[in-house]
Amino acid sequence: MIFHHLILRVVTKILVGTIILFALYVQFHGDFSPGGGFQAGVIMAVAFIIYGIVFGLTAVKKVFPEWVVHKTLAFGVLIYAGTGIATMFLGYDFLDYDAFSPAHPTVGQHWGLLVIEFGVGVTVTGVMVAIYYAFAGRPPSISDEDW
């Protein structure tokens, strides 16, 4: 835990929340304005990464443990695929969102898109954070046996 760089830490603490908020905005606004899962995911990840950079890996791992990261990224993919499977169970093609409200396809598309974008967002967040952990979490030189 690093105790210097007061300004950095204060600013970060303020920023992280905002970043997450913005990420959520991009996420859920993505289906009718620029944005979407990919961008939102990366932004969300940025929140954690900046936290990690400033407060150290151990701190951020307390907030967002590594195993949770792995589950998250797997879970996002499942949300995505699950949506498709759901449409299939409703008797439509894979990922045919009309299934969700056959009466008003637009609405169906809207919801479907929202869900899968959420899945994408979750996955991207997970992946980005995972990559950050993977590289940041490695002491520079370590013998092959003990890791």
Binding site: F32, P34, F135, S141, I142, D144
Partner: protein, 151 residues
């Protein structure tokens, strides 16, 4: 092309030229540099050139971002649509995928480099090559006379 150097033609295809230049730069780095990380960088430049190529395909002169103008109730307002040219979104979408793939490749490559660094203590191709030749020589010293008789 009557003229030897058709400037108009070149100007018209500037983005292709740029794409080619970038691509060649990338490839050259991949082939020439012995530092594994630099190779990855070269690979990235190479891929980026392709992304640019795709994006440039999608451009429609005077086209704008392909998003329907909406009124406050999130309904497409028909009259705003009139006379708007949209760029072709498909290449951009494709490239979004390609970019993601690129990121995955890069991070995987870097991860491999980290491991290589850990087990070879170098990220320079030449040195690694020497080490590996040494290993092969050891193998042959240990098992080399295993020709199972003359073939």
């Amino acid at each position: 092309m009557s003229k030897l150097l058709d400037l108009q033609f070149l100007a018209g295809h500037a983005h292709y030229l740029l794409f080619i230049v970038l691509m060649m730069t990338g490839l050259f780095i991949v082939v020439d540099k012995t530092n594994l990380v630099k190779k990855i960088v070269g690979l990235n430049i190479f891929q980026v050139s392709v992304f640019m190529f795709y994006v440039s395909i999608g451009k429609v002169t005077g086209g704008t971002a392909p998003i329907f103008p909406m009124d406050d109730k999130y309904h497409v307002d028909k009259e705003a649509l009139v006379g708007i040219a949209y760029s072709n979104p498909l290449p951009h979408v494709l490239i979004l995928t390609a970019i993601v793939v690129g990121i995955a490749t890069t991070s995987l490559g870097l991860a491999l480099i980290v491991r290589i660094r850990e087990s070879f203590n170098t990220i320079d191709e030449e040195d690694i090559l020497h080490i590996e030749q040494e290993m092969t020589r050891d193998d042959n010293r240990k098992y080399g006379n295993a020709m199972g008789g003359l073939a």
